[in-house]
Symmetry: C2
Subunit: 224 residues, 2 copies
């Protein structure tokens, strides 16, 4: 079922060429999916702000209902802040070992307070107002906790984008949910109403990472 | 910030070559992100079960906490079922116009009932049991509604994968949240405790699709 292209073949045979894992040529989405692993040890090579900004710009192309784009990011490269975050993330070593840590969160209240920024600027004023009213009526009618959950689900679409794009561009990652969210928010001045979607360690791996066992498609999909 | 590679240049200049939009060569994840739009009109060309199975196999490489992989899919190509689904999706035309409709849902109860399937088979028996106990203690302690939301957030990581991989492989998509979830579940025999993550129309587009307006990275990210 998986086409036997170069990377897929390498994956199946266990033979990885150095130029594939540290590719200068971006990988296809398929090859990125096949080769991405959670990596917890990183080489001591910085990731620049420009590189991360590029990844997040591409991540921001993820779709979201009503185009609300509720995802927000705090990118941490400062050593002391990473050390403080590791403490509230149960000591996970990749928090400090990765050159960059991306803390993703969803803030639907910020999105709702600035709907004028998400409605397409090319629309006529009347249409813009009507679109904003639809979003306000839909999300505004939900209890705050429910819309926070809704927004967090949307932010996870962007998380999928980020992980796949980073791998395609030659980076390794480790997404984490194991942390004390209240303390993470306090450390990074993230609003208390926001939901922390994930912490993502980002860098260039110093280990191959663990190959997870996944369901066959027949286990998770039915066709009709 | 965006590298001026072929597709990115085409996007910025508005000039798309036919071989890029209907590419036989898979796109990089970056180019897939830059060129993906929500497409509502599709060419009358079937998508095969093998093509969809390949996409879902790749989608299933998405990471999930505890490796629970709570995502499930019902792939609908049958004309009558698509017509019934369109009725419960507020008449959205892409439900019937797309050759395939992928209904994604999250079923954490199924995952919890079969944890032996998600724990790596290579682990020693004792370690397998301990891993299953950790997952059971963590997720089992959550109220059913909370863990359903948690699982749905996880399934959205896979949704991000699916959209990007489909585009990379030459398909167009339209993810939707506008439907009566209770009726969708009833039509497709999806358990009532499950959460419908999204409906995704899939095919080869007959229109360019709308280019959404997105936040600049400076609006959604801070660096420290």
């Amino acid at each position: 079922m998986i086409r036997s292209d170069r990377v897929a073949t390498a994956l199946l045979t266990g033979e990885f060429a150095a130029d594939v894992t540290g590719a200068a040529t971006p990988l296809s989405a398929a090859d990125a999916a096949l080769t991405r692993r959670s990596v917890r040890a990183y080489r001591d090579e910085p990731v620049t702000e420009a590189e991360i900004a590029r990844l997040l710009t591409l991540t921001g192309r993820a779709p979201s209902a009503f185009n609300v784009q509720p995802w927000r990011f705090v990118v941490v490269r400062d050593v002391d802040t990473k050390a403080a975050l590791r403490e509230v993330a149960y000591g996970q070593k990749q928090v400090t070992e990765a050159p960059a840590l991306i803390v993703m969160y969803a803030d639907i209240e910020d999105a709702l307070a600035h709907l004028d920024e998400v409605v397409h600027p090319g629309l006529p004023a009347e249409k813009r107002e009507a679109t904003m009213a639809v979003v306000r009526n839909n999300l505004g009618a939900m209890p705050p906790e429910a819309r926070a959950q809704w927004a967090n689900a949307q932010a996870n679409i962007a998380l999928g984008y980020l992980l796949l794009i980073a791998r395609s561009e030659g980076f390794d990652t480790s997404p984490m949910l194991g942390f004390d969210a209240t303390r993470v928010k306090a450390l990074l001045d993230i609003p208390s109403h926001a939901t922390v979607t994930a912490m993502v360690a980002l860098g260039r791996g110093a280990e191959e990472g663990f190959v997870s066992h996944r369901h066959d498609v027949a286990r998770v999909a039915t066709f009709r």
